[in-house]
């Protein structure tokens, strides 16, 4: 069992490292991730939402629906713990 686990883990790690060969270096300002979608968030955030903190504006406005999902996830977790653990009075 231990050996199978070790092989599986090494395989996963090896695949991930194989994938990094074509990745941009750390902190590369010309990587696709910093050129394609994100410049608009940086340049337009104050103009379009009036919030200087880009993380907040992206979190709550551009991708606000993700945050609704996130809040629902934590609500779900709360209800799940309640459902599983609480003993209800008669």
């Amino acid at each position: 069992m231990k050996w199978i686990a070790l092989i599986a883990v090494c395989l996963t790690g090896g695949l991930l490292i194989y994938g990094t060969v074509d990745m941009p270096n750390w902190g590369d300002p010309t990587s696709p991730a910093s050129l394609h979608v994100s410049p608009r968030y940086i340049e337009k955030t104050v103009e379009e939402t009036g919030v200087p903190n880009m993380v907040t504006s992206v979190l709550a406005d551009y991708r606000g629906y993700d945050t609704l999902g996130e809040t629902t996830v934590i609500f779900t977790a709360g209800m799940a713990c309640l459902l599983l653990l609480r003993r209800f009075g008669k």
């Binding site: 103009e47 379009e48 939402t49 009036g50 919030v51 200087p52 903190n53 993380v55 907040t56 504006s57 979190l59 709550a60 406005d61 606000g64 629906y65 945050t67 609704l68 996130e70 809040t71 629902t72 934590i74 609500f75 977790a77 709360g78 209800m79 713990c81 309640l82 599983l84 653990l85 609480r86 003993r87 209800f88 009075g89």
Partner: protein, 149 residues
């Protein structure tokens, strides 16, 4: 299972600290627009302050301040605020969560309305996160002890 032990130093220090922690939590929620922070972070700080109260005193002390019922209402209230703001935008003729539309009912232009909308949902997130943190902690800690709906 929380065993009760009463330590004067811990209780006093915590009693002094908790209000400041809570004010700081509120600050983090409210100041998320222009500094690192926001609903989730602030909510966790607020939740932690209540958990500290439970740890330093006991669950009865906690119950005096926040009953289970209140926590449950808070849990659902926060998300409802969030989803509700989105819904109001829908009713005002925009898409879901399009806060720009809020300028029709608020005395501001659409950019400022976006800013206010963001603040509104941060508050919602904060309330839910705080309540859920406390709720999960109580459920895990008070194992079968509390018989209260």
């Amino acid at each position: 299972m929380i065993t009760h032990f009463y330590d004067v130093i811990i209780q006093t220090v915590c009693r002094l600290l908790i209000p400041f922690i809570q004010v700081y939590g509120l600050y983090v929620i409210a100041h998320g627009h222009s500094s690192p922070g926001g609903g989730f972070q602030g909510g966790v700080i607020l939740g932690a302050s209540f958990i500290l109260l439970c740890l330093s005193h006991d669950l009865q002390e906690m119950r005096k301040r926040l009953t289970r019922r209140t926590i449950l209402i808070f849990c659902s209230l926060g998300v409802t605020i969030y989803a509700g703001i989105g819904f109001v935008c829908l009713l005002l003729g925009g898409n879901y969560l399009d806060y720009g539309r809020l300028h029709r009912i608020l005395p501001v232009d659409s950019v400022a309305a976006r800013s206010l909308g963001i603040f509104g949902i941060e508050v919602g997130v904060g309330i839910t996160v705080m309540a859920v943190m406390v709720s999960i902690f109580l459920d895990l800690a008070s194992e079968e002890k509390v018989r209260e709906g």
